[in-house]
Protein backbone atom coordinates (compact mmCIF):
# COMPACT_ATOMS: atom_id res chain seq x y z
CA UNK A 1 0.00 0.00 0.00
CA UNK A 2 1.26 3.47 -0.91
CA UNK A 3 2.14 5.81 1.95
CA UNK A 4 -0.28 8.69 2.49
CA UNK A 5 1.27 11.94 1.30
CA UNK A 6 0.31 15.08 3.18
CA UNK A 7 -0.14 18.19 1.03
CA UNK A 8 0.06 21.35 3.13
CA UNK A 9 -2.43 24.07 2.17
CA UNK A 10 -2.65 27.69 3.31
CA UNK A 11 -5.92 29.54 2.71
CA UNK A 12 -6.19 33.33 2.76
CA UNK A 13 -9.59 34.61 1.65
CA UNK A 14 -10.21 33.35 -1.86
CA UNK A 15 -6.60 32.36 -2.37
CA UNK A 16 -5.30 28.88 -1.60
CA UNK A 17 -1.60 28.04 -1.59
CA UNK A 18 -0.79 24.40 -2.15
CA UNK A 19 2.71 23.27 -1.26
CA UNK A 20 4.00 20.66 -3.65
CA UNK A 21 6.49 18.12 -2.29
CA UNK A 22 10.05 17.42 -3.34
CA UNK A 23 9.16 15.07 -6.20
CA UNK A 24 6.01 15.46 -8.26
CA UNK A 25 5.18 12.04 -9.62
CA UNK A 26 1.96 10.09 -9.97
CA UNK A 27 1.37 9.58 -6.27
CA UNK A 28 2.06 13.10 -5.04
CA UNK A 29 0.71 14.67 -8.26
CA UNK A 30 -2.69 13.04 -7.85
CA UNK A 31 -2.87 14.33 -4.27
CA UNK A 32 -2.07 17.85 -5.50
CA UNK A 33 -4.70 17.54 -8.22
CA UNK A 34 -7.34 16.38 -5.74
CA UNK A 35 -6.47 19.21 -3.36
CA UNK A 36 -6.67 21.80 -6.16
CA UNK A 37 -10.03 20.40 -7.25
CA UNK A 38 -11.26 20.57 -3.65
CA UNK A 39 -10.19 24.21 -3.27
CA UNK A 40 -11.80 25.21 -6.57
CA UNK A 41 -15.01 23.47 -5.59
CA UNK A 42 -14.87 25.39 -2.29
CA UNK A 43 -14.91 28.64 -4.24
CA UNK A 44 -11.23 29.50 -4.39
CA UNK A 45 -10.51 32.12 -7.09
CA UNK A 46 -6.72 32.01 -7.05
CA UNK A 47 -4.73 28.84 -6.72
CA UNK A 48 -1.01 29.13 -5.95
CA UNK A 49 1.12 26.02 -6.35
CA UNK A 50 4.26 26.53 -4.34
CA UNK A 51 7.28 24.61 -5.64
CA UNK A 52 9.80 25.73 -3.01
CA UNK A 53 10.42 22.11 -1.94
CA UNK A 54 10.27 20.68 -5.44
CA UNK A 55 13.44 19.16 -6.86
CA UNK A 56 12.00 17.09 -9.67
CA UNK A 57 8.85 16.86 -11.80
CA UNK A 58 8.47 13.79 -14.01
CA UNK A 59 6.22 13.35 -17.06
CA UNK A 60 3.24 12.18 -15.03
CA UNK A 61 3.73 15.22 -12.80
CA UNK A 62 3.63 17.47 -15.88
CA UNK A 63 0.45 15.77 -17.12
CA UNK A 64 -1.19 16.25 -13.76
CA UNK A 65 -0.20 19.93 -13.60
CA UNK A 66 -1.73 20.36 -17.08
CA UNK A 67 -4.89 18.83 -15.66
CA UNK A 68 -4.84 21.32 -12.79
CA UNK A 69 -4.43 24.19 -15.27
CA UNK A 70 -7.37 22.85 -17.30
CA UNK A 71 -9.62 22.47 -14.25
CA UNK A 72 -8.77 25.97 -13.04
CA UNK A 73 -9.38 27.47 -16.48
CA UNK A 74 -12.76 25.76 -16.76
CA UNK A 75 -13.72 27.08 -13.32
CA UNK A 76 -12.52 30.61 -14.13
CA UNK A 77 -9.89 30.46 -11.42
CA UNK A 78 -6.43 31.96 -11.74
CA UNK A 79 -3.47 29.68 -11.31
CA UNK A 80 -0.06 30.77 -10.13
CA UNK A 81 3.20 28.83 -9.87
CA UNK A 82 5.63 30.13 -7.26
CA UNK A 83 9.11 29.44 -5.93
CA UNK A 84 10.17 27.23 -8.82
CA UNK A 85 13.81 26.23 -9.00
CA UNK A 86 15.92 26.91 -12.06
CA UNK A 87 15.74 23.44 -13.60
CA UNK A 88 12.01 23.12 -13.16
CA UNK A 89 11.26 26.56 -14.58
CA UNK A 90 13.37 25.71 -17.62
CA UNK A 91 11.42 22.53 -18.09
CA UNK A 92 8.09 24.33 -17.70
CA UNK A 93 9.23 27.00 -20.19
CA UNK A 94 10.37 24.43 -22.72
CA UNK A 95 7.15 22.47 -22.46
CA UNK A 96 4.97 25.56 -22.53
CA UNK A 97 3.35 25.25 -19.12
CA UNK A 98 4.34 28.79 -18.24
CA UNK A 99 2.17 30.03 -21.15
CA UNK A 100 -0.89 29.08 -19.11
CA UNK A 101 0.00 30.24 -15.61
CA UNK A 102 1.35 33.26 -13.86
CA UNK A 103 4.82 32.61 -12.48
CA UNK A 104 5.90 34.39 -9.33
CA UNK A 105 9.63 35.03 -9.03
CA UNK A 106 11.49 33.35 -6.17
Amino acid sequence: MSPEIHIPVRIEGETATIFAGDYINKLSGERIERECQRQINAGCKTLIVNFSETELVNSIGVSILLGVIDVAANAGAKIVFSDINENTIELFDTLGLTNHVEVLPN
Binding site: V62, I64, E90, L91, G96, N99
Partner: protein, 420 residues
Amino acid sequence: MLENQQKLIHTFGALADLGQEVAHKQNFQEMIRTSLHLVLGSLAIMRGGVARYSRFGHELNMLVMRGLGDNFPLSLSLCYEDERQFLANGLAPIEVKHAQVLPFVQIYDRSFESKKIELVIPLIIRDELVGVIFLGEKATGEPFTGYDKDIICAMARHIGVGIAQRNLMAELERRAEENRHLYEDLRTTYKDTVKAFAAAIDCKDKYTEGHSERVGKYTEIIAGELGWDNDHVEGAAIAGYLHDVGKLVVDRNIINSPTRITASENAQLSKHPTVGYEILLPIHHPYADVPLAAKYHHERLDGRGYPDGLHDREIPFIAKIVNLADSFDAMTTDRPYKRRRKSEEVIEDMHRNSGKQFAPELVTAFCRAMLKELTNERKEKRFRKILGKDYLEADKIVPLLKNVLNARNATSPLTFVAAE
Protein backbone atom coordinates in the same frame (compact mmCIF):
# COMPACT_ATOMS: atom_id res chain seq x y z
CA MET B 1 21.07 23.45 -26.53
CA LEU B 2 20.56 23.05 -22.77
CA GLU B 3 16.85 23.39 -23.35
CA ASN B 4 16.89 20.59 -25.93
CA GLN B 5 18.96 18.41 -23.66
CA GLN B 6 16.52 18.80 -20.79
CA LYS B 7 13.57 18.11 -23.07
CA LEU B 8 15.33 15.00 -24.34
CA ILE B 9 15.99 13.73 -20.81
CA HIS B 10 12.38 14.41 -19.83
CA THR B 11 11.02 12.62 -22.89
CA PHE B 12 13.27 9.61 -22.61
CA GLY B 13 12.44 9.35 -18.92
CA ALA B 14 8.78 9.12 -19.94
CA LEU B 15 9.55 6.46 -22.56
CA ALA B 16 11.45 4.35 -20.05
CA ASP B 17 8.62 4.68 -17.50
CA LEU B 18 6.09 3.69 -20.13
CA GLY B 19 8.04 0.55 -21.08
CA GLN B 20 8.10 -0.48 -17.41
CA GLU B 21 4.45 0.36 -16.96
CA VAL B 22 3.33 -1.85 -19.85
CA ALA B 23 5.66 -4.71 -18.90
CA HIS B 24 4.89 -4.89 -15.20
CA LYS B 25 1.44 -3.51 -14.48
CA GLN B 26 -1.10 -6.15 -13.57
CA ASN B 27 -4.04 -3.78 -13.58
CA PHE B 28 -4.86 -3.02 -17.22
CA GLN B 29 -7.00 0.05 -16.58
CA GLU B 30 -4.35 1.56 -14.33
CA MET B 31 -1.66 0.79 -16.91
CA ILE B 32 -3.59 2.66 -19.60
CA ARG B 33 -4.29 5.60 -17.28
CA THR B 34 -0.62 5.95 -16.39
CA SER B 35 0.40 5.51 -20.02
CA LEU B 36 -1.81 8.39 -21.09
CA HIS B 37 -0.27 10.55 -18.35
CA LEU B 38 3.16 9.71 -19.69
CA VAL B 39 2.26 10.54 -23.30
CA LEU B 40 0.62 13.83 -22.32
CA GLY B 41 3.36 14.74 -19.84
CA SER B 42 6.30 13.89 -22.08
CA LEU B 43 5.37 16.57 -24.65
CA ALA B 44 3.04 18.65 -22.47
CA ILE B 45 -0.09 17.89 -24.46
CA MET B 46 -3.12 19.56 -22.94
CA ARG B 47 -5.60 16.69 -23.29
CA GLY B 48 -6.13 13.29 -24.76
CA GLY B 49 -7.63 9.84 -24.51
CA VAL B 50 -7.04 6.16 -25.26
CA ALA B 51 -9.72 3.98 -26.83
CA ARG B 52 -9.80 0.23 -27.38
CA TYR B 53 -11.18 -1.13 -30.62
CA SER B 54 -13.88 -3.76 -30.57
CA ARG B 55 -13.78 -5.78 -33.78
CA PHE B 56 -17.21 -7.22 -33.08
CA GLY B 57 -18.95 -3.92 -32.42
CA HIS B 58 -16.78 -1.94 -34.88
CA GLU B 59 -16.39 0.74 -32.28
CA LEU B 60 -13.78 2.51 -30.26
CA ASN B 61 -14.51 2.45 -26.55
CA MET B 62 -12.76 5.09 -24.49
CA LEU B 63 -10.63 3.50 -21.78
CA VAL B 64 -9.29 6.70 -20.29
CA MET B 65 -9.57 10.45 -20.99
CA ARG B 66 -7.95 13.56 -19.60
CA GLY B 67 -9.32 17.01 -20.22
CA LEU B 68 -11.86 15.87 -22.78
CA GLY B 69 -14.85 16.70 -20.58
CA ASP B 70 -18.17 14.98 -20.22
CA ASN B 71 -19.42 15.64 -23.73
CA PHE B 72 -16.74 13.73 -25.58
CA PRO B 73 -18.24 10.46 -26.91
CA LEU B 74 -17.36 7.40 -24.84
CA SER B 75 -17.91 5.13 -27.81
CA LEU B 76 -17.08 6.01 -31.42
CA SER B 77 -18.33 3.92 -34.32
CA LEU B 78 -15.97 3.03 -37.14
CA CYS B 79 -16.94 1.91 -40.61
CA TYR B 80 -15.03 -0.48 -42.81
CA GLU B 81 -13.42 2.41 -44.69
CA ASP B 82 -12.05 3.90 -41.43
CA GLU B 83 -10.54 0.58 -40.47
CA ARG B 84 -9.08 0.12 -43.94
CA GLN B 85 -7.54 3.60 -43.89
CA PHE B 86 -6.12 3.08 -40.40
CA LEU B 87 -4.53 -0.19 -41.42
CA ALA B 88 -3.09 1.42 -44.55
CA ASN B 89 -1.73 4.30 -42.47
CA GLY B 90 -0.13 1.99 -39.89
CA LEU B 91 0.95 3.09 -36.44
CA ALA B 92 1.62 6.75 -37.21
CA PRO B 93 -0.09 9.98 -36.14
CA ILE B 94 -2.83 11.28 -38.43
CA GLU B 95 -3.45 15.03 -38.32
CA VAL B 96 -7.18 15.53 -37.91
CA LYS B 97 -7.21 18.66 -40.10
CA HIS B 98 -5.82 16.59 -43.00
CA ALA B 99 -8.04 13.57 -42.40
CA GLN B 100 -11.47 14.88 -43.34
CA VAL B 101 -11.70 12.04 -45.84
CA LEU B 102 -12.16 9.59 -42.97
CA PRO B 103 -15.90 9.01 -42.39
CA PHE B 104 -15.20 8.72 -38.68
CA VAL B 105 -13.57 12.18 -38.57
CA GLN B 106 -16.55 13.61 -40.46
CA ILE B 107 -18.98 12.15 -37.94
CA TYR B 108 -17.09 13.23 -34.82
CA ASP B 109 -15.61 16.44 -36.24
CA ARG B 110 -17.54 18.67 -33.84
CA SER B 111 -16.30 16.77 -30.78
CA PHE B 112 -12.73 16.84 -32.07
CA GLU B 113 -12.94 20.55 -32.85
CA SER B 114 -14.39 21.55 -29.49
CA LYS B 115 -11.65 19.66 -27.67
CA LYS B 116 -8.96 20.75 -30.12
CA ILE B 117 -8.01 17.18 -31.02
CA GLU B 118 -5.05 17.52 -33.37
CA LEU B 119 -3.75 13.98 -33.69
CA VAL B 120 -5.35 10.57 -34.00
CA ILE B 121 -2.95 7.64 -33.69
CA PRO B 122 -4.27 4.24 -34.79
CA LEU B 123 -2.73 1.51 -32.65
CA ILE B 124 -1.84 -1.13 -35.23
CA ILE B 125 -0.19 -4.21 -33.75
CA ARG B 126 0.61 -7.16 -36.00
CA ASP B 127 -1.58 -5.75 -38.77
CA GLU B 128 -4.54 -5.44 -36.48
CA LEU B 129 -6.24 -2.32 -35.17
CA VAL B 130 -6.37 -2.62 -31.38
CA GLY B 131 -7.16 0.98 -30.44
CA VAL B 132 -6.69 4.67 -31.06
CA ILE B 133 -5.04 7.51 -29.13
CA PHE B 134 -6.53 11.00 -29.38
CA LEU B 135 -4.27 13.95 -28.60
CA GLY B 136 -5.09 17.62 -28.21
CA GLU B 137 -2.82 20.64 -28.67
CA LYS B 138 0.57 21.14 -27.08
CA ALA B 139 0.89 23.53 -24.16
CA THR B 140 3.30 25.61 -26.25
CA GLY B 141 0.56 26.10 -28.84
CA GLU B 142 3.07 25.06 -31.51
CA PRO B 143 2.29 22.35 -34.06
CA PHE B 144 3.62 18.84 -33.51
CA THR B 145 7.06 18.42 -35.02
CA GLY B 146 8.48 15.33 -36.71
CA TYR B 147 10.44 14.65 -33.53
CA ASP B 148 7.25 14.88 -31.44
CA LYS B 149 5.54 12.47 -33.77
CA ASP B 150 8.42 9.99 -33.52
CA ILE B 151 8.19 10.10 -29.73
CA ILE B 152 4.42 9.68 -29.88
CA CYS B 153 4.82 6.69 -32.22
CA ALA B 154 7.28 5.00 -29.89
CA MET B 155 4.97 5.50 -26.91
CA ALA B 156 1.85 4.52 -28.86
CA ARG B 157 3.53 1.25 -29.82
CA HIS B 158 4.00 0.41 -26.12
CA ILE B 159 0.36 1.19 -25.38
CA GLY B 160 -0.78 -0.79 -28.41
CA VAL B 161 1.21 -3.81 -27.27
CA GLY B 162 -0.34 -3.46 -23.80
CA ILE B 163 -3.84 -3.50 -25.30
CA ALA B 164 -2.98 -6.38 -27.67
CA GLN B 165 -1.64 -8.40 -24.72
CA ARG B 166 -4.81 -7.72 -22.79
CA ASN B 167 -6.93 -8.79 -25.78
CA LEU B 168 -4.89 -11.95 -26.12
CA MET B 169 -5.33 -12.76 -22.44
CA ALA B 170 -9.06 -12.14 -22.68
CA GLU B 171 -9.25 -14.43 -25.72
CA LEU B 172 -7.25 -17.12 -23.94
CA GLU B 173 -9.51 -16.86 -20.90
CA ARG B 174 -12.57 -17.09 -23.14
CA ARG B 175 -11.21 -20.19 -24.88
CA ALA B 176 -10.17 -21.77 -21.59
CA GLU B 177 -13.68 -21.18 -20.29
CA GLU B 178 -15.14 -22.69 -23.45
CA ASN B 179 -12.84 -25.70 -23.06
CA ARG B 180 -13.89 -26.07 -19.43
CA HIS B 181 -17.53 -26.17 -20.52
CA LEU B 182 -16.76 -28.69 -23.26
CA TYR B 183 -14.83 -30.82 -20.79
CA GLU B 184 -17.69 -30.68 -18.31
CA ASP B 185 -20.12 -31.70 -21.05
CA LEU B 186 -17.84 -34.54 -22.00
CA ARG B 187 -17.57 -35.66 -18.39
CA THR B 188 -21.33 -35.59 -18.00
CA THR B 189 -21.74 -37.58 -21.21
CA TYR B 190 -19.14 -40.08 -20.00
CA LYS B 191 -20.84 -40.46 -16.61
CA ASP B 192 -24.26 -40.84 -18.25
CA THR B 193 -22.85 -43.46 -20.60
CA VAL B 194 -21.32 -45.33 -17.69
CA LYS B 195 -24.62 -45.26 -15.82
CA ALA B 196 -26.45 -46.47 -18.91
CA PHE B 197 -23.95 -49.31 -19.20
CA ALA B 198 -24.44 -50.15 -15.53
CA ALA B 199 -28.21 -50.23 -16.05
CA ALA B 200 -27.74 -52.51 -19.07
CA ILE B 201 -25.58 -54.87 -17.00
CA ASP B 202 -28.11 -54.95 -14.17
CA CYS B 203 -31.00 -55.62 -16.58
CA LYS B 204 -29.68 -59.12 -17.09
CA ASP B 205 -30.30 -60.00 -13.49
CA LYS B 206 -33.77 -59.31 -12.12
CA TYR B 207 -32.67 -60.03 -8.55
CA THR B 208 -29.70 -57.75 -8.55
CA GLU B 209 -31.28 -54.82 -10.34
CA GLY B 210 -29.36 -51.68 -9.40
CA HIS B 211 -26.38 -53.71 -8.18
CA SER B 212 -23.78 -51.90 -10.31
CA GLU B 213 -25.13 -48.51 -9.33
CA ARG B 214 -25.03 -49.42 -5.64
CA VAL B 215 -21.50 -50.79 -5.92
CA GLY B 216 -20.54 -47.55 -7.64
CA LYS B 217 -21.98 -45.58 -4.73
CA TYR B 218 -20.33 -47.72 -2.05
CA THR B 219 -17.03 -47.46 -3.88
CA GLU B 220 -17.46 -43.70 -3.96
CA ILE B 221 -18.13 -43.66 -0.20
CA ILE B 222 -15.01 -45.69 0.58
CA ALA B 223 -12.77 -43.61 -1.70
CA GLY B 224 -14.15 -40.41 -0.20
CA GLU B 225 -13.55 -41.71 3.32
CA LEU B 226 -9.96 -42.49 2.37
CA GLY B 227 -9.53 -38.79 1.66
CA TRP B 228 -9.09 -39.09 -2.10
CA ASP B 229 -9.59 -35.97 -4.19
CA ASN B 230 -12.80 -35.48 -6.18
CA ASP B 231 -11.37 -36.74 -9.47
CA HIS B 232 -10.14 -39.98 -7.93
CA VAL B 233 -13.37 -40.49 -6.02
CA GLU B 234 -15.24 -40.12 -9.29
CA GLY B 235 -12.83 -42.58 -10.95
CA ALA B 236 -13.45 -45.08 -8.17
CA ALA B 237 -17.22 -44.69 -8.58
CA ILE B 238 -16.90 -45.33 -12.33
CA ALA B 239 -14.89 -48.49 -11.58
CA GLY B 240 -17.70 -49.58 -9.28
CA TYR B 241 -20.39 -48.90 -11.87
CA LEU B 242 -18.57 -50.93 -14.54
CA HIS B 243 -17.08 -53.76 -12.49
CA ASP B 244 -19.58 -56.34 -13.76
CA VAL B 245 -19.58 -55.29 -17.42
CA GLY B 246 -18.26 -58.75 -18.32
CA LYS B 247 -21.60 -60.22 -17.26
CA LEU B 248 -23.06 -58.87 -20.50
CA VAL B 249 -21.69 -61.93 -22.25
CA VAL B 250 -22.76 -64.45 -19.59
CA ASP B 251 -25.94 -66.40 -20.28
CA ARG B 252 -28.92 -64.73 -18.60
CA ASN B 253 -30.14 -68.13 -17.27
CA ILE B 254 -26.90 -68.65 -15.38
CA ILE B 255 -27.06 -65.22 -13.79
CA ASN B 256 -30.72 -65.66 -12.88
CA SER B 257 -30.52 -69.30 -11.84
CA PRO B 258 -32.65 -69.79 -8.69
CA THR B 259 -30.66 -72.90 -7.77
CA ARG B 260 -26.98 -73.67 -7.33
CA ILE B 261 -25.30 -73.49 -10.74
CA THR B 262 -23.31 -76.35 -12.26
CA ALA B 263 -19.54 -76.49 -12.49
CA SER B 264 -19.53 -75.60 -16.20
CA GLU B 265 -21.97 -72.74 -15.59
CA ASN B 266 -19.77 -71.55 -12.77
CA ALA B 267 -16.77 -71.66 -15.09
CA GLN B 268 -18.63 -69.43 -17.53
CA LEU B 269 -19.68 -67.02 -14.81
CA SER B 270 -16.12 -66.86 -13.48
CA LYS B 271 -14.94 -65.53 -16.79
CA HIS B 272 -16.84 -62.26 -16.37
CA PRO B 273 -13.97 -60.36 -14.69
CA THR B 274 -11.56 -61.16 -17.53
CA VAL B 275 -14.20 -60.47 -20.17
CA GLY B 276 -15.00 -57.17 -18.45
CA TYR B 277 -11.33 -56.26 -18.51
CA GLU B 278 -11.13 -56.99 -22.23
CA ILE B 279 -14.23 -54.89 -22.90
CA LEU B 280 -12.97 -51.94 -20.88
CA LEU B 281 -9.31 -51.99 -21.84
CA PRO B 282 -9.59 -50.48 -25.35
CA ILE B 283 -11.76 -47.62 -24.04
CA HIS B 284 -9.84 -44.49 -23.23
CA HIS B 285 -11.12 -43.81 -19.69
CA PRO B 286 -10.17 -40.66 -17.83
CA TYR B 287 -9.31 -43.04 -14.97
CA ALA B 288 -6.70 -45.69 -15.72
CA ASP B 289 -7.74 -48.23 -13.09
CA VAL B 290 -11.26 -48.94 -14.35
CA PRO B 291 -10.36 -52.10 -16.36
CA LEU B 292 -8.23 -53.41 -13.46
CA ALA B 293 -11.15 -53.06 -11.06
CA ALA B 294 -13.30 -55.17 -13.39
CA LYS B 295 -10.65 -57.86 -13.74
CA TYR B 296 -9.65 -58.26 -10.12
CA HIS B 297 -12.74 -57.47 -8.08
CA HIS B 298 -13.16 -61.16 -7.16
CA GLU B 299 -9.59 -61.57 -5.91
CA ARG B 300 -9.07 -62.08 -2.17
CA LEU B 301 -6.17 -61.08 0.06
CA ASP B 302 -5.62 -64.74 1.04
CA GLY B 303 -5.18 -65.78 -2.62
CA ARG B 304 -8.42 -67.78 -2.81
CA GLY B 305 -10.09 -65.46 -5.27
CA TYR B 306 -10.29 -65.54 -9.05
CA PRO B 307 -9.38 -65.21 -11.95
CA ASP B 308 -5.65 -65.23 -11.04
CA GLY B 309 -5.56 -66.12 -7.34
CA LEU B 310 -3.56 -62.99 -6.53
CA HIS B 311 -2.40 -62.20 -2.99
CA ASP B 312 -2.76 -58.98 -1.00
CA ARG B 313 -0.23 -56.60 -2.57
CA GLU B 314 -0.61 -58.12 -6.01
CA ILE B 315 -4.22 -56.97 -6.10
CA PRO B 316 -4.76 -53.42 -7.42
CA PHE B 317 -6.07 -51.16 -4.66
CA ILE B 318 -9.13 -50.10 -6.66
CA ALA B 319 -10.08 -53.78 -7.08
CA LYS B 320 -9.92 -54.23 -3.30
CA ILE B 321 -12.33 -51.31 -2.85
CA VAL B 322 -14.75 -52.65 -5.47
CA ASN B 323 -14.48 -56.11 -3.92
CA LEU B 324 -15.62 -54.80 -0.54
CA ALA B 325 -18.41 -52.72 -2.08
CA ASP B 326 -19.53 -55.67 -4.23
CA SER B 327 -19.58 -58.09 -1.30
CA PHE B 328 -21.39 -55.61 0.94
CA ASP B 329 -24.10 -55.21 -1.70
CA ALA B 330 -24.35 -58.99 -2.17
CA MET B 331 -24.89 -59.43 1.57
CA THR B 332 -27.39 -56.60 1.92
CA THR B 333 -29.71 -57.44 -0.99
CA ASP B 334 -32.08 -60.33 -1.61
CA ARG B 335 -30.76 -63.04 -3.93
CA PRO B 336 -32.71 -65.84 -5.68
CA TYR B 337 -31.38 -68.38 -3.22
CA LYS B 338 -31.35 -66.34 0.01
CA ARG B 339 -32.74 -63.24 1.73
CA ARG B 340 -30.53 -60.34 2.59
CA ARG B 341 -28.67 -60.64 5.87
CA LYS B 342 -29.16 -58.49 8.95
CA SER B 343 -26.95 -55.44 9.11
CA GLU B 344 -25.23 -56.65 12.33
CA GLU B 345 -24.29 -59.93 10.62
CA VAL B 346 -22.93 -58.09 7.61
CA ILE B 347 -20.69 -55.89 9.74
CA GLU B 348 -19.47 -58.89 11.72
CA ASP B 349 -18.78 -60.70 8.47
CA MET B 350 -16.72 -57.80 7.11
CA HIS B 351 -14.79 -57.66 10.37
CA ARG B 352 -14.20 -61.42 10.43
CA ASN B 353 -13.01 -61.49 6.84
CA SER B 354 -10.85 -58.44 7.21
CA GLY B 355 -7.32 -59.46 6.22
CA LYS B 356 -8.62 -62.61 4.49
CA GLN B 357 -11.00 -61.39 1.83
CA PHE B 358 -11.08 -57.66 2.52
CA ALA B 359 -8.31 -55.12 2.99
CA PRO B 360 -8.45 -54.11 6.69
CA GLU B 361 -7.95 -50.37 6.01
CA LEU B 362 -10.93 -50.46 3.67
CA VAL B 363 -13.18 -52.18 6.20
CA THR B 364 -12.15 -49.46 8.65
CA ALA B 365 -12.92 -46.69 6.17
CA PHE B 366 -16.29 -48.21 5.27
CA CYS B 367 -17.31 -48.70 8.91
CA ARG B 368 -16.13 -45.19 9.77
CA ALA B 369 -18.23 -43.69 6.96
CA MET B 370 -21.26 -45.64 8.19
CA LEU B 371 -20.66 -44.57 11.80
CA LYS B 372 -20.39 -40.91 10.76
CA GLU B 373 -23.78 -41.14 9.09
CA LEU B 374 -25.46 -42.93 11.99
CA THR B 375 -24.08 -40.50 14.57
CA ASN B 376 -25.03 -37.53 12.36
CA GLU B 377 -21.43 -36.43 12.03
CA ARG B 378 -22.21 -36.53 8.32
CA LYS B 379 -25.52 -34.99 7.36
CA GLU B 380 -25.98 -36.69 3.99
CA LYS B 381 -27.71 -40.03 4.48
CA ARG B 382 -26.07 -42.03 1.71
CA PHE B 383 -26.35 -45.50 3.27
CA ARG B 384 -29.94 -44.91 4.26
CA LYS B 385 -30.85 -43.86 0.72
CA ILE B 386 -29.41 -47.06 -0.69
CA LEU B 387 -30.39 -49.54 2.02
CA GLY B 388 -33.71 -48.08 3.13
CA LYS B 389 -34.33 -46.14 6.31
CA ASP B 390 -35.04 -49.13 8.57
CA TYR B 391 -32.19 -51.41 7.62
CA LEU B 392 -29.45 -49.78 9.69
CA GLU B 393 -30.68 -49.53 13.26
CA ALA B 394 -28.43 -47.04 14.96
CA ASP B 395 -28.82 -48.42 18.49
CA LYS B 396 -27.61 -51.84 17.33
CA ILE B 397 -25.12 -50.83 14.71
CA VAL B 398 -23.29 -47.92 16.33
CA PRO B 399 -21.78 -49.98 19.23
CA LEU B 400 -20.88 -52.68 16.75
CA LEU B 401 -19.14 -50.26 14.42
CA LYS B 402 -17.28 -48.69 17.33
CA ASN B 403 -16.09 -52.15 18.42
CA VAL B 404 -14.90 -52.94 14.92
CA LEU B 405 -13.06 -49.62 14.70
CA ASN B 406 -11.51 -50.03 18.14
CA ALA B 407 -10.42 -53.56 17.28
CA ARG B 408 -8.91 -52.27 14.06
CA ASN B 409 -7.07 -49.49 15.89
CA ALA B 410 -5.71 -52.00 18.41
CA THR B 411 -4.02 -53.95 15.65
CA SER B 412 -2.54 -50.93 13.91
CA PRO B 413 1.28 -50.68 14.04
CA LEU B 414 1.04 -47.33 15.82
CA THR B 415 -0.75 -48.91 18.77
CA PHE B 416 1.96 -51.54 19.11
CA VAL B 417 4.62 -48.87 19.25
CA ALA B 418 2.65 -46.96 21.87
CA ALA B 419 2.14 -50.10 23.96
CA GLU B 420 5.83 -50.90 23.97
